[in-house]
Amino acid sequence: MVILERQQQQQALLIFGLGLIGSSIKNALHADQCHHFPFSWENTTQQSEELSNIGKFLEEHANLPHVEVIWTAGKGGFSSPDHAFASEYQALEQVLHWTKNLRKTRPVNFHLFSSAGGLFEGQILVDQDSTPQPLRPYGHWKMKQERLAMDLLENSMLHIYRPSTVYGYQAGARTGLIANLLQKGKSNTFVEIFASKSALRDYIYVEDIAQFLVHQLENNTPAKPTQIHFLVSGKSSNILEICQLASEILNKPILSSYRLNLENTADNTFSPKLKPSGLFTRSLMEGMKGMVGEV
């Protein structure tokens, strides 16, 4: 995990999880200083000690009274089995308890990254009235995490973010469909797609998420009830469209086949009215062009 110092805003930002979203947020924040701290994801005993060290750091930096804890951790993926999520849940629980204690001495906000795709899998035109109905362990565990956070933290300090299907590229992070297409397309390698050509998904570029979080941090007003933000583009795309775009950007055909994985054929789309103000989403073409140099 990292602690970022933003001295002008008098903020200390704690980011747990430096995968695709976490790294993008870290880059977007333009911190004055960045400190790396160890965090043992599998070992709860070690976690206590490590959180204690983080606490000492914060005490030593009284010039950063406002603390923002950002949880973007997610070792388990969409297709991971149930047991892959247990240690992550325990780690979150530990951090939530620690955050609650920290709240006694200074203002703290907690930003939990959940998953709209996991919670509303198989649903189309999801809007404010839709109910989460996860279909697989990933979604169930995300819902549990949300409930845990709501139970342990007071309403005024919790923000829950539900991104749809996030795309982008970060070396070392899990590679999604779009990054995979561009990577394999560039190297003229065959790519196997575990879904049907017409499967609809809502795609959001990771940098748009990061920019929104920066906007939130700069405009955050405390004493509001728990806020749930749907980070969606509101414009769904099917995989054929994405392959066409990839082909156009790379100026060559994408060599692919479609494995009809029945779990991945259901459409999942969101109403554009779910988009919060302050979230600006770029088109797939723009996002993919931005990635192509990095993959």
């Binding site: 099917n238 066409q244 459409d267």
Partner: protein
């Protein structure tokens, strides 16, 4: 909860101020009817696509979009035309079925159920409305539209072209896939034919009220020509095969003529009069024919490349599992 099919409705907007509220009301009534019937079908979204409208249509649509979660308003950055506006709406849709409707009540929502029933019963993927009489109420406009389509059917051999109409019900995945492979000069309905041959039309008493009343549709003659040009460019014209046949015919004619001239010269030397004429005509015919055949071959290859570039798929898979429940509901209502 039973599997529920979602219908998306796309309405390109250019000059529909006088009609949009009434159109919305009719669609809202249909939505309500399906909710009341607990139908396996729901009207999921109504997407108005503002194609740089020239009146106050947007001012009327905006409060509808603000007050109803299922109504959306998309704005195009310039006037792109009805087909691109329809495609923009389709690419923003999520429904398993998508229907495009004109803004001016020419296409009453009451016809949606019969069109859907036809599609389901006959396992079709696209159903067009076919006007029982000339929809524009103007002989010149109706005749020219009908004539052009018939000509295109002859040139391409694709009978579905005669069905094309802006009131079209499409299976969602086919509509979105066709829209996603369309370029700026692709005729959308031609792109639909790349994904399915399951197309038909339902005869309906539809009328272009606006044109019939002399108000004009917003389509200038120039725009209609551009529309026709797009259809011409997108459709696979089989004329180059006719060119190849012509070339071969000329070639054989040239060979026969050569034989005739040769025999004549042997029997009656000098009978053709001017020197050099026989060899000139033979050379012209044979080399000319060869050029025509080669041209036809090049056009054939070009056609294949263009179709590949346009995105014509090798195959496409669809899902029909929700159809039986819908058929049962719609038949019950229409028995």
């Amino acid at each position: 909860m039973a599997l529920q099919t979602v219908l998306s409705i796309i309405v390109p907007i250019y000059s529909g101020s006088a009609y949009v509220n009434e159109l919305f009301e009719q669609l809202a009534q249909l939505k309500e009817k399906w909710e009341k019937d607990q139908a396996p079908l729901r009207l999921g979204e109504l997407i108005f696509v503002n194609d740089q409208s020239i009146d106050d249509s947007v001012d009327k649509i905006r409060p509808l979009a603000d007050n109803h979660t299922w109504v959306h308003l998309l704005h195009l950055s310039k006037n792109f035309g009805q087909h691109p506006a329809s495609m923009a709406g389709i690419l923003h849709s999520s429904g398993q079925w998508v229907i495009t409707i004109d803004e001016d009540l020419q296409h009453p929502p009451a016809h949606i159920e019969p069109m859907l029933l036809k599609a389901l019963e006959e396992e079709l993927d696209v159903v067009y409305a076919s006007p029982t009489a000339g929809p524009h109420g103007k002989v010149s406009r109706d005749f020219s539209s009908s004539f052009f389509k018939k000509l295109m059917v002859r040139l391409t051999g694709d009978k579905n072209i005669a069905l094309f109409n802006s009131y079209r019900l499409m299976r969602g995945e086919i509509a979105r896939s066709a829209a996603s492979v369309c370029g700026p000069d692709t005729y959308f309905d031609v792109a639909l034919t790349w994904f399915t041959k399951g197309m038909s039309a339902l005869e309906l008493p539809i009328k272009d009220v606006r044109t019939a009343q002399g108000q004009g549709s917003g389509y200038s003659f120039r725009k209609l020509l551009a529309h026709a040009r797009r259809l011409l460019l997108s459709a696979q014209i089989n004329a180059y095969r006719a060119i190849a046949v012509l070339g071969i015919a000329i070639f054989f004619l040239g060979v026969m003529l050569s034989g005739y001239i040769l025999v004549n010269e042997l029997i009656q030397p000098g009978s053709f009069g001017s020197k050099g004429w026989p060899s000139l005509i033979i050379a012209t015919m044979i080399f000319g024919a060869t050029s025509v055949i080669l041209l036809a071959l090049i056009l054939e290859y070009l056609s294949i490349v263009v179709q590949k570039a346009q995105g014509k798929p090798v195959f496409f898979v669809i899902d029909r599992k929700a159809d039986p429940a819908l058929i049962a509901y719609l038949q019950h209502g229409h028995s």
